[in-house]
């Protein structure tokens, strides 16, 4: 589905250029709403030249999604079995919030795909993502059973961290519309708010 590993310097450079441009375009307009022309312009390449590196629009999209899946899952992977429970959860939340701030396009790329039923990514959700969440849910459950965290549903706890942190990237347009033009960067306030929220929820 994706191109073989790039060999030459020029191939690496152009594939990186295309990936960067495609991330901007797909995250803003969704898969169907994006055109190869748009991506080519954004990458400063001609359309046929772009299609020399990827066989189709779908291949670019697939390449992006699988390339970014690791970044997407890294914060949850970093949740440490042997850490201090509440601090581990708060650190996970903060890393996710930081990703929303630093990589909003990546977040919206996945958001677009999932809101539309995840047709091109369902496989990865049912395998990679589910297995990771199952594993970490067990860790959280053990913490709760040991009385180190107040009891609640570990799956919905993870969903709530996703939704609360990704909201500031995915629904950025709405957040800014509601807070108004005079408002500063909402992320510092969000971090304070979410720290309080999870501390009060989880402190035994």
């Amino acid at each position: 589905m994706t191109k073989p590993v790039p060999r030459t310097r020029i191939q690496r450079k152009n594939i990186a250029l295309i990936s960067e441009a495609a991330l901007s375009v797909f995250s803003t307009h969704g898969f169907r709403g994006s055109t190869v022309d748009q991506i080519a312009r954004e990458a400063n390449l001609s359309k046929p030249n772009l299609l020399y590196y990827f066989p189709s629009k779908e291949a670019i999209h697939q390449h992006l999604l699988s390339m970014l899946m690791d970044t997407w899952l890294a914060p949850l992977k970093a949740l440490q079995d042997d850490g201090e429970p509440l601090e581990e959860i708060l650190t996970y939340m903060r890393r996710k919030l930081q990703m929303s701030r630093d990589h909003p396009r990546e977040s919206r790329l996945f958001a677009n795909e999932i809101v539309q039923g995840a047709p091109r990514i369902m496989d990865m959700l049912e395998t990679e993502l589910k297995e990771l969440v199952d594993e970490k849910a067990k860790v959280i459950e053990a913490w709760m059973a040991a009385g180190k965290l107040a009891p609640s549903d570990p799956y919905h706890l993870i969903f709530s961290i996703w939704s609360l942190t990704q909201h500031y990237a995915d629904f950025d347009a709405q957040v800014h519309a509601v807070l108004g033009p005079g408002h500063d960067d909402p992320f510092p306030e969000a971090e304070t708010y979410l720290t309080t929220l999870f501390t009060r929820l989880l402190q035994p």
Copy 2:
């Protein structure tokens, strides 16, 4: 932008048919990802017949968005100044969660639009929505100042209710992928989880 008020019975029926079909299609594929043909098929009308009732694809989309904005805002409008503060917030959360369960297409219609930068709806967000949130944020702030709720940021409190409840509609595909095929309806668990969350956060 939208058609004038329908006069005859047949007009009312067909406009309702088209709106229903368009809601399904737009909420699943986004504006650009949807085709007039798809909507027409879903409504059991020919494409020219559909375009007899609406001048363009964009007009159908606009019609839907403004028609549904009231439903979308109703739960927050119902937040009562003179109610018991924690109960009012919990009731608002439950109504939003119920909307995610009963009207997931409406939720995804707005989610698609906002994730893509809200190009066709920004006006409403900056006026109608902002004014309503400003008003209710003041009510919540007054409750906190009076010691009836634990202090926190009222805007981010509202954002958190939106993100947590809409997550179960907008990211439904992911929720089901992670919970697995053997899992029941996640809404009852979600309601329990979110009740605990907001109670622990807000109880003075």
